[in-house]
Amino acid sequence: SQTIHQWPATLVQPVGSPLSLECTVEGTSNPNLYWYRQAAGRGLQLLFYSIGIDQISSEVPQNLSASRPQDRQFILSSKKLLLSDSGFYLCAWRTTGREQYFGPGTRLTVT
């Protein structure tokens, strides 16, 4: 069966500090991978999606970036965090014809 991991689960970072969030998927090959952000009490904002290694689409211009160094690994990064980057970050995976499956999420607070 497939599983998706995200870490860390929670993170408190000061403004201007760097960020690295990691997502890995087990039990499937060549999945589509997604990063979403959810502000408190709000819906999901698609940040990045990837259909393969080094194939990443950015949906929203911002100070975040994403990389996919391996087939089942997706990393979200920032060089300098802003207060507005606070939120619940969700990674998801999908294979063709299926729905998206979400990881447990990382709650980021920028202080």
Binding site: L44, L46, E99, Q100, F102, G103
Partner: protein, 112 residues
């Protein structure tokens, strides 16, 4: 850009009552998904609707899709407190329906 609108955004109802959540979307698609999110948790897949007229039921929840009207509904029958959560619909679009566009969510509170 594809727009997905859910209504209502907030729903407070008594146990035992019926209600429907609506999901309208702005462009042609026959890929519609419903998710549930509990407070502080991730999203859990509820239903996958892949064609016009599709209907899926699980317990007290039933989802349907009308692609001609660009409308999906999530019907709640005889609500119970355990159904309290936020419900999202999502529309698949683009090549291989790779991109999902989510509605704003409907926060459901079922009062005992």
């Amino acid at each position: 850009e594809l727009k997905v609108e859910q209504n209502p955004l907030f729903l407070s109802m008594q146990e035992g009552k019926n209600y429907t959540i609506y999901c309208n979307y702005s462009t042609t698609s026959d890929r519609l998904y419903w998710y549930r999110q509990d407070p502080g948790k991730s999203l859990e897949s509820l239903f996958v609707l892949l064609s016009n007229g599709a209907v899926k039921q699980e317990g007290r929840l039933m989802a349907s899709l009308d692609t001609k009207a660009r409308l999906s509904t999530l019907h709640i029958t005889a609500a119970v407190h355990d159904l309290s959560a936020t419900y999202f619909c999502a529309v698949g679009a683009g090549y291989n329906f790779n991109k999902f566009y989510f509605g704003s969510g409907t926060k459901l509170n079922v009062k005992p």
